[in-house]
């Protein structure tokens, strides 16, 4: 592994000149620079990242923590973040917390040491914990809003409004919300918007659950929804909706004849099943881009140390709006 000195002596200059030729081309004579670059290339020189990090005090890495890679929503989110940083000097560290709160914290701590900034998708982490991490690194929260920490989340309003309007128009007056994890930010959001919207339209909303936010959770939820005598359900997410659909099919309950189903997320599977799932699509790639851009901006803004951080602007972002996708699991009462 050839070092900067090898290149320097090959080019007949000092190490500093090589460094400059590489990092501040304008500070070095064009011809010298050409020679240096040529030698570096010939020797296959790759700057040692550790040495560079040591002196610069930054790693040029960013961390990304998500609850569950196998969840298509997060998979898409990761892809978005990776794609965004692919064209920058940063590489991304990924960690999967297995939906476990303790792991979330452990991994976040581990990331802090290895990256200059962190995108955190940790729906269950306490606000206090989040702030403590924010104190140690440049942090951006995704899928969760905070007043103290820069954060990006989608706007549930439009999609849920549309869903309620749709279900109402089909004549449903008694519906259920199949809740996900009690303490998750997005469960609370979904519930809140749903409750408000239903109240407004005079739809009676009963809450069932919480259910595991997976296929199995929905499978169980289906029977309880039937027993609760509702004509439509809003599932916490598509996985749950898919479970409901499967269970109703197994019980020979017609969908949407006897029960309408609205999912959340628009995972790929939602459109592969029969009948394809009506669902509230979430703008994951947009969230990923926005969170990445926010982190990159914070990383790049050379804030003189100690200078106060400007409050992150939170413009209304239309690209972060959810929207209803009407497919075939919803029908008239």
């Amino acid at each position: 592994m050839s070092s900067i000195r090898a290149v320097a002596s090959a080019a007949g200059v000092s190490a500093s000149t090589v460094s400059r030729a590489l990092n501040n081309p304008e500070l070095v004579n064009a011809e010298t620079r050409r020679r240096v670059l040529e030698c570096a290339d010939r020797l296959g020189y790759r700057p040692n990242r550790a040495a560079r990090s040591l002196v610069l005090g930054r790693t040029t890495n960013v961390g990304l923590i998500v609850p569950d890679i196998a969840n298509p929503v997060f998979a898409l989110f990761i892809k978005g973040v990776e794609a965004y940083f692919r064209d920058t000097e940063y590489a991304v560290f990924l960690a999967d917390t297995d939906e476990d709160a303790a792991t979330e914290v452990r991994l976040a701590e581990a990331m802090v040491e290895r990256a200059d900034g962190l995108i955190l998708c940790a729906p269950r982490m306490s606000g206090m914990r989040v702030r403590s991490i924010a104190a140690k690194t440049t942090l951006v929260l995704a899928n969760r809003l905070s007043r103290t920490v820069p954060s990006i989340a989608m706007d549930f309003g439009p999609g849920i409004d549309q869903a309620i309007g749709h279900v109402h128009a089909l004549g449903h007056r008694r519906c259920a919300f199949l809740a996900g994890p009690r303490d998750s930010w997005s469960n609370r959001q979904r519930r809140r918007f749903l409750a408000a919207g239903c109240a407004e339209r005079g739809i009676e909303l009963v809450e069932l659950g919480p259910y595991e936010p997976r296929f199995g959770g929905g499978y169980r939820a289906a029977d309880e929804a039937l027993a609760a005598d509702v004509t439509a359900v809003f599932a916490y997410n598509d996985l749950v909706a898919l479970g409901v659909l499967a269970r109703l099919r197994d019980r020979d309950v017609p969908v949407p004849g006897r029960m309408s189903i609205v999912g959340f997320d628009d995972v790929p599977t939602a459109s592969m099943v029969a009948p394809p799932l009506t669902t509230v699509a979430v703008p994951i790639p947009a969230v990923a881009r926005a969170a990445s851009a926010m982190l990159l901006a914070k990383l790049r803004e050379a804030r003189p140390q100690g200078a106060a951080e400007p409050p992150p602007p939170r413009p209304p972002a239309p690209e972060l709006a959810t929207r209803l996708l009407i497919r075939s699991t919803t029908g008239p009462t």
Copy 2:
């Protein structure tokens, strides 16, 4: 950020003693050590990784490259690798190549700089490229076998044998293989085993495709399979099988009445659709574990530099066997 020297002076010892207390506890007096640890803890001391990497010449990171995170098979693989390294000193860097060969190479190069070793899932990369990467870092290939580079792949034999036996028993004598990407290692494997097995049992096998290894590819494949007048298809993977299933349903072709379908992979969706998919399940977690273990072993074996690498033992690994999952998309002719 407090340095090792801050801890040293707080504990009234030298930096080396702190270093030793942390890294080689047995070399330091128990009482001294206690004091050092106490001070380190009190000061919130975190060793600077860059400095450590610089002197040690290792990063304590490993890289992981996969073609597509959104593919459930790889998602599971990633999870497996992450889980494995979670209990070690290593953190894992993830990169998604978007199924693109050029990106594969670029990312692999980027990883080499940041990690001590690499698990590469690059079905399309040329053998030459692979070897060139292997020359630069500790490399383990996953889902692909190589004679020169340590590699782990599942054993397609058992699952495919069972699938062919199953289809044969149901009376099918003319089947199709719905091929995936021509140049992918696993497509070649699947095809080869299928061809051999069918020949052995006197089943006529026609090859269709290649198709895009996604739902859409299968959607297209369905019509061609019907036209090819086969009674059963082996899809390249479950996504393709799911597409076939959906298309046949749209065309009111009974499954398995008129057409039997066998998938590959056993992705979660396979069991969520109706009828649930008969498929050859692949032991992804086992592959992930095996690849991770192999990499960790290579990383840990302190090979005196220049010493020849021992040929990696490749024991028959029963846990790497695929196996048929009979569900409901296969039936008698």
